[in-house]
Amino acid sequence: MVKNLHILLVLIGLGAIFYALTSDFESSDALSPVAERYATQGPDEVGAANLVTAVVVTYRGLDTLGEVTILFLSAAIVAFFLKVTNGNGGKRNFRPVSEILQTAAKVLTPAIFLLGIYVFINGHLTPGGGFQGGAIVASGLVLMLLARPDMKISHTVIHVVESISGFAFVFIGILGIFYAGGFLDNSLISLGTFGTLLSAGAIPIIYIFVGLKVGAELSNIVGHLQESQNEA
């Protein structure tokens, strides 16, 4: 009874807060000054057909670097905590995997990997980008692990891919300071024709590295969780 009363009080409080937020809300027809500048100058300055990518990689590139770092930290923390408890390495009795899943995984896994790579290579043209593509690659790996639970993932390969792409991301950013307008400026390479694959300067290269890094980090988390299941 008292518990329900508390829940009711919390709900009323939340309602009051959100009411205050939404009661004087008016949707504006015009863009805010910053957004308007991005929308009008973006195609000329950055050359990316997907404006979201122009903002994420170039105008707010430092934020993206921070996000990738946070993801790296959480992957490292998951690896750290699961590794400590993974001492005895006991064998686990796998439930037999259904044939439908195994066959479907064989057909679908390459297609999913290809879709992920497509998404991050075309990040400057179509919706999506490094994060989305990396997550799709990692979900392809999940399907592989579900179909063959005894599969071992090579952590060395994942670490090498992740380190190289993280290093390359920062390196391209620093090159921008010396040869272009500033950190992570994409006009390092010529902008090319608007709307083609080889356009928007350094954005495709940066997004390929971001995609590889995110894919490696998420695969690392899933791989560690998979291995920690072996424990008795």
């Binding site: 999506g128 997550a135 999940v142 899933v222």
Partner: protein, 81 residues
């Protein structure tokens, strides 16, 4: 108009699934409910003209985090029983 109707149906479904996930007896069903909430939310983002966010939500929210919840649930069950 038709988009508004679809959006309202989606919103009702999302809230319904979220409440169902909270009250489900079996934890596996609750995890699947939470994953379905993410999937419907990604359709909602698509309706709101944010395909980039929709892709992230579909891949991470309903794909990877559901799997991670299952792994963790399996591990907790093994340690408890």
């Amino acid at each position: 108009m038709i988009l508004k109707i679809i959006a309202i149906i989606l919103g009702v479904l999302i809230i319904g699934l979220a409440v169902y996930a909270l009250h489900a007896k079996k934890l596996t069903v609750a995890i699947l409910g939470a994953g379905a909430v993410s999937l419907l939310a990604s359709v909602m983002y698509l309706l709101l003209a944010a395909p980039d966010v929709a892709m992230t939500e579909a891949a991470i929210g309903s794909g990877l985090s559901t799997i991670i919840f299952f792994y963790v649930l399996n591990k907790i069950r093994k340690q408890n029983g």
